[in-house]
Symmetry: C2
Subunit: 392 residues, 2 copies
């Protein structure tokens, strides 16, 4: 092949807020009508509070039509073709401030100031629409359903079955649980079992953080971007030490847009804690549930949605795990690589040996999410980034 | 010199709980009498919950007399002499489960299930006793007062002045703030100013973590030890981005027993976020307060209490910062190096060039806390670890 299969492990899609109405269960539409103006105002206020409103507006200037690809099938196809991206994993929150699902069912999945029943209703509205969007190009799109699983396990199980039946490939679950039980709690066991049995991939995506700690103070943005990746990676050690991967050998988890630079140090720390005797002895026997080293669970269970993976992390790929890395574009977010994906990708991956490049740009994601590479081959031959670019 | 000056940046001392009574302001003694049995039971329950009670008991067997050095001047001198440690920085919680100050005024300084007035009273009782202990060997002991500064700034200022007047060298402040304002909040400005003016060093010491997330579930200890160091380092980026070091160029902070392995990556991340334009632009101008790079504030303001620093971190010393590292023994905690300090130290530091060794074992701490090395020289000549051990 003269061109590479590229699958973006991190793309976003969402409807303009008013259009979610038709996808809601009818009994929630009245509440939706009342809540919509408040939601729009709150989202706008948040963008202004975090000083991003102006910058985003500037970045979007002249790209208005292409950004409708956040929800429009035809435009999305054009944009991804031009960007060289054949397949994509689709999360919510298309154009962040304009495409959030109703009732707090966006990327962050807060547990405060939301009503569980409504958050589920908003999630389901989005999931229904997403299933339609994916069905318009099923060979190219792996949709990730929103699943606020913390509230009620039976609701979660119902949705996981729906997700499977409607061709979506994974669920996005909250990376923060507020005052609800964390993910080493046995109450979530049926959820892990269902995802394992049905091949539904669990996702944590960066975004949520304890905003109440930051306030509206000088420094809040620096603090947020310093620790935001940690907050979405954190569930990992609850799952590992809690023995979830021990009990569910086929369960798979992706941590998306959370950088990958922390992986080598974290694995060292986990394995060290697992192996040492003196310190761990003081702290009791927490190892009884784990037959393998933490890093071995990581290698088997955890995939990294490496959005706009920078050169420095590419250089660390062997420590991070070449088989665990899945490149991503983050379209249509301003911090993503679109519309300069080829350039960004070539800068980061130039000179990387062919099999590793192939794995990280597309093959790892193809295998995890079940893309049919053969079906995508003609498309790749037309739009994929050219091999020689990476080996110049 | 044929022997090295060793200052432990991390030692602990505390009274048997009933002995704190005499150091309390009289109006709290009745409450103390009622609370004491509850405190003892709760502490014991926590040790059993975390499965450490048996292990600790085992470790302490045959060391009962030496462990009274947690509060007894004469015994402490003998123990530290035998360990080769000339100077020490003293935190609360001597023998963890037996020497906690009253009313939740221990290392962790919780903000829930405590009464602020009582927590302050417990802290002051400990601080009074600690000032006495330090006065018995002022050239060897730098005491760190307990200061639950979150509740009330005026109380904090009163105590900081008391600390200065009574020869203590620093304050231990909470590394978690619960629902109270975090350290980038302007309300704490008078505290930073007072510490800066009086040369009082601010301390964060590992211990506190969101235990409510862990519950009493399988995996809880693994999760705790995976993230506990992060929780005590976290205030650092609130101080940096909040501009505290920009406004208080003489303020000094020590982060103790929180490992040092995270430093290089954190500094890279902070400087990257500070320097980049694209991503930071989306997220707004949080840089306006900072004239230097975050890593430059770190170098100037932050010291690391590197308890039982392992070889691997010693090998990373140039990235971490040779001038910022202060070795520590963690006496009398079971995870510390006592009574094998020489062996542990030699394993970790063998072959390190003389000036770097001298800096990390004692000189950095001497300078930060104002120890008089000349006064300590005769003691060092008698007890210090011998030079040839490190260069064999």
């Amino acid at each position: 092949m003269e061109r590479y299969l590229v699958i973006s492990s991190d793309c976003h899609a969402g409807l303009p807020p008013e259009q979610y109405r038709d996808y809601l269960d009818p009994q929630y539409r009245e509440t939706f009508d009342a809540a919509l103006p408040i939601q729009i105002e709150e989202t706008d206020k948040a963008a202004r509070k975090f000083l991003v409103a102006d910058v985003n507006r500037e970045w979007r200037k002249g790209r208005e039509r292409q950004l409708t690809g956040a929800w429009d099938h035809d435009e999305r196809i054009k944009v991804l073709d031009a960007d060289g991206v054949a397949g994509e994993i689709i999360f919510p929150d298309g154009i962040t401030e304009f495409n959030m699902p109703p009732f707090g069912a966006g990327l962050s999945l807060p547990t405060e100031n939301v009503i569980p029943e409504l958050q589920w209703a908003g999630a389901r509205a989005h999931n229904r629409w997403l299933a339609e969007l994916c069905a318009q190009a099923p060979e190219r799109r792996a949709g990730i359903a929103i699943a606020p699983i913390l509230w009620d396990v039976d609701e979660a199980l119902k949705e996981i079955r729906w997700v499977k039946e409607h061709g979506l490939r994974g669920i996005l679950i909250p990376s923060m649980w507020g005052r609800l039980p964390a993910y080493h709690h046995p109450r979530y066991e049926p959820i892990w079992s269902a995802c394992e049995d049905l091949g539904i991939i669990i996702h944590f995506h960066s975004g949520a953080a304890p905003m109440e700690d930051y306030g509206e103070l000088v420094g809040m943005m620096g603090i947020y971007i310093t620790e935001v990746a940690w907050w979405s990676a954190r569930p990992l050690w609850f799952l590992i030490w809690g023995g979830v991967f021990e009990r569910h050998p086929k369960l798979r988890v992706a941590i998306t847009e959370s950088t990958t630079v922390w992986v080598p140090e974290l694995l060292q720390l986990l394995d060290f804690r697992y192996a040492e005797t003196h310190f761990s002895a003081k702290l009791g026997d927490y190892r009884s549930q784990l037959k393998m080293k933490p890093s071995e669970y990581f290698r088997r269970h955890v995939f990294l949605g490496a959005s706009c993976m920078p050169r420095r992390e590419v250089d660390m790929r062997h420590e991070i795990g070449v088989e665990n890395i899945m490149w991503g574009s983050d379209f249509p977010h301003p911090e993503g690589s679109w519309p300069y994906t080829r350039e960004q990708m070539v800068d980061a991956f130039r000179g990387v040996p062919e099999p590793e490049l192939v794995a990280m740009l597309g093959d790892n994601a193809a295998r995890l999410y079940g893309f049919d590479s053969a079906k995508l081959a003609p498309l790749v031959a037309r739009i994929g980034p050219e091999r020689h670019l990476f080996h110049a």
